[in-house]
Subunit: 149 residues, 2 copies
DNA sequence: GCATAAATTTAAGCCCGCTTAACTAAAAAG
DNA sequence: CTTTTTAGTTAAGCGGGCTTAAATTTATGC
């Protein structure tokens, strides 16, 4: 088997597992927060990117600026994000998680990955080290990929 | 930093990246299919479970039986699933992917992992081997976890 | 057998996300 | 300085998902 196939196969198997485990409780958690999926997705993006503008949202989720603006408005109202004027371009807005928003999204993240603790417990110290090293390689590669875009 | 913290931190960083990327591809793909997210989620579940009933859907996604029934009806109409009577319990229905539904859901999976090819391209052969080894360790651990449950 | 429970469907109605269109305001282009 | 482009907001309206309530059909308990 070629290196590419090895990589692809291992990655897909892992991804399948991850999706199966993590997506399961996701909709339930989102529902329990009272937020809609689109609203939750915006919080997720802000958790990842720290800040973004209205157009970043519409671009990412492939919706109109109007829709993005409306969703952001609701999240501002509910206290999950703050919306400030961009000092460099007064047309633009800078969205950012509030502490409340961050706490909520962290709780969701924790819930989704809690099964990883059980998984870790089954690993020897040696295996754990190998996994950590590989994960760091992957995270770094993904980061460099992001910088290219 | 303890081994547990190392593991937890590395895993979370990677998961964050992973979620961010995969969700992105997913929403775009779902939109392009003309299906709604709930509809697509049902197809995803059927991809894993092969068959299920209406109540399985309502339970899994935490919606009413009525909602599950309506969603299923739309998927039957669009030709993505088939709905047959359960011979063992004529009240119940057995839902199953049609070939069309299966093709679509497989295409979605491929699209969701397409960015992994770009990621792989940035890795040296040596790093690739380390990653493959680690992924196999994780997959095996996840499997043993599953057997415990 | 009869009453009760379970699996699903249908209908009415609410809510929300999304779109288009019209508008404001600010930056960029010429 | 005027025109055009860009960023975002607002309003009206559509469509879809979800809920409750009521109905149907089949299984189960006594």
């Amino acid at each position: 088997m070629s290196k590419h196939l090895q990589f692809s196969k291992a990655m897909r198997a892992w991804m399948d597992m991850f999706m199966h485990r993590s997506m399961h409780g996701m909709t339930k958690f989102v529902k329990s927060t009272g937020l809609s999926m689109p609203q939750f997705s915006i919080l997720m993006q802000l958790r990842h990117k720290e800040t973004c503008g209205i157009s970043d949202i519409s671009e990412r989720f492939d919706i109109s600026n109007a829709a993005a603006s409306q969703l952001a408005e609701k999240l501002v109202q509910s206290g999950h994000i703050e919306r400030a004027e961009d000092p460099n371009d007064r047309r633009a807005k800078i969205l950012r998680l509030t502490q409340q928003g961050r706490d909520l999204i962290d709780a969701g993240f924790n819930e989704r990955v809690s099964w990883l603790n059980d998984l870790e417990a089954t690993l020897s110290a040696e295996k754990k080290l190998k996994v950590v090293a590989a994960l760091n390689i992957l995270a770094e590669a993904a980061k460099s990929l992001e910088e290219k875009e």
